[in-house]
């Protein structure tokens, strides 16, 4: 202690360091804004009927460290406090519902809460696709296949939806495909049957076409896979895929 009293230079040096620390801390605090994020989730059953209780949806903020979680109240509202400015993926999860994701959400932060677009979650379809079959259909000039799928479970639901995916590779799935579309299964039917016209620019003559089908609860919901650019449809039941059907693209008569 005597040294400190005697040597002013040391005291000044310590003070200097102290000031530096305080000054730099202030700047660090200023570095990243934070704020509140509010969102709403609406729950629907697997027949697109809106529920009254929207609670129990788990929200996971991917990209936050440590990972932030929240859950919805009865109104479907969730609140995340002290979220730092940044880019996040927001995952919506509830047992028995199709998981959804909002990717690359840019959050600024500030004094007022930010609200994220209202999100809908759909109950997973219980439709079971028991078989999937592709056969050649006799059309002139264009490649057309007849698709037949036998289904069971929730067949009394009004217009159940199935989403099919097409690819030229056997490891086809809802993540790995070239094109996709939906078909409706009408009330009471135990079979889906439709004609599928093939774009021979995407699926050339002689190549093998692969198809897979999933029961779906809704048509449009998706997010973009940031690695491939593919749309990842989220309102399908990924646990209940059909078997993979395949067929060779036949030669067709030219109209010329």
């Amino acid at each position: 202690m005597k040294i400190f009293k005697r040597n002013n230079k040391i005291r000044v040096f310590i003070f200097f360091i102290l000031l530096l620390t305080i000054a730099c801390e202030k700047v660090t605090e200023y570095e990243v804004l934070s704020g509140q994020l509010i969102g709403y989730v609406t729950l629907y059953d697997n027949n697109r009927n809106k529920l009254t209780d929207h609670s129990g949806v788990e929200i996971i903020v991917e990209g936050s460290n440590p990972q932030i979680k929240a859950s919805t109240n009865e109104n479907g509202q969730f609140i995340i406090d002290n979220l730092k400015s940044g880019i996040y993926n927001i995952v919506f999860y509830k047992e028995g519902y199709c998981q959804h994701k909002i990717i690359s959400y840019q959050f600024v932060g500030g004094n007022k809460p930010a609200t994220i677009n209202q999100t809908s979650l759909f109950g997973q379809s219980n439709l079971q696709i028991n078989s999937l079959e592709l056969t050649e259909s006799e059309y002139q000039y264009t490649v057309v296949f007849t698709v037949k799928a036998k289904v069971s479970g929730q067949i009394e639901n009004t217009n159940s939806i199935c989403r099919y995916f097409l690819s030229n590779e056997p490891d086809i799935s809802y993540r790995n495909y070239i094109s996709t579309n939906v078909v409706y299964k009408y009330t009471g039917n135990e079979e889906i049957s439709f004609n599928l016209q093939i774009d021979t620019l995407k699926f050339p003559v002689g190549s093998e076409l692969y198809m897979i089908m999933y029961p779906a609860s809704e048509v449009n919901q998706y997010y973009t896979d940031i690695n491939t650019g593919n749309k990842i449809y989220t309102s399908i039941n990924i646990n209940k895929p059909s078997t993979v059907a395949n067929i060779t693209i036949p030669e067709v008569e030219s109209p010329w």
Binding site: L19, A23, V27, G63, I87, I103, Q106, V108, N227
Partner: protein, 237 residues
């Protein structure tokens, strides 16, 4: 007192220079990912979407798309940017005022579509001014579809970005066209008889429905614009 002086001065120095390094870091950084779609002259989506150059005004780095049309900028500081997409024979798309915050995960830019520029050549061109109508007619290499627009200005630097008057988008389709024509009524234009005007014609991809608004020039622009003629001057008499 010496000490006090020293303290005050050091204090000022610390606040001015002490934290320079931190200040450079005020803005978050992050990656930006985007996808580009290509549509050819016939309206078909192109399989191989590689070779689109993407630049961000204000950054020196350049990105190129891969076969999926994907591009990525790494370690971009937060800010507002203009993204410029271009590919030879496909023209240019400009995305203005893209706001980027930065963070741990990449940001995704909305998909952009570039349309192939038409491969039509003008073989001869005629202009005339009669009965207060500017008539344009030309012979072209054979094509099944043609979409064009005429731009008029009172100075010779007329272009799709610099004009007083532009005609609507004109489209013809059918089999084996070899000529095209257009009539512009003087009353539609801001000009009067006796004025000297400059005209230029641009072709564009007929499948491009929506272009984009160029905020710098205040003009609506199609990505597939391709200058079809040199600038032609015409005295309206």
């Amino acid at each position: 007192m010496k000490i006090l002086k020293f303290l005050i001065i050091s204090n000022i120095f610390i606040f001015l220079f002490g934290c320079d390094k931190s200040e450079e870091n005020i803005f978050l950084k992050g990656n930006i990912v985007g996808f580009v779609n290509l549509v050819d002259e016939t309206g078909t989506e192109v399989e191989d979407k590689s070779g689109v150059n993407v630049t961000m005004e204000g950054l020196t780095s350049l990105a190129n798309t891969n076969e999926d049309g994907r591009f990525e900028f790494k370690n971009v500081p937060a800010g507002t940017y203009n993204l410029i997409y271009n590919k030879t024979d496909y023209g240019v798309y400009k995305r203005f005022s893209y706001q980027f915050i930065g963070g741990n995960l990449p940001a995704l830019v909305n998909e952009t579509t570039l349309y192939e520029q038409p491969n039509i050549e003008i073989q001869s061109l005629d202009f005339s001014f009669n009965d207060n109508i500017i008539s344009i007619s030309g012979k072209i290499s054979e094509t099944s579809h043609i979409t064009f627009q005429t731009f008029i200005n009172d100075s010779s630097n007329v272009s799709n970005l610099k004009y007083d008057f532009a005609t609507g988008k004109h489209s013809y389709s059918g089999w084996g066209f070899t000529e095209f024509s257009q009539s512009i009524y003087l009353s539609e234009t801001p000009y009067s008889a006796g004025d000297k005007v400059y005209l230029v014609i641009y072709f564009m991809n007929p499948n491009e429905e929506w272009g984009y608004y160029d905020y710098e020039n205040g003009k609506y622009v199609y990505t597939s614009y391709k200058k079809a003629t040199s600038v032609i001057n015409l005295i309206l008499e």
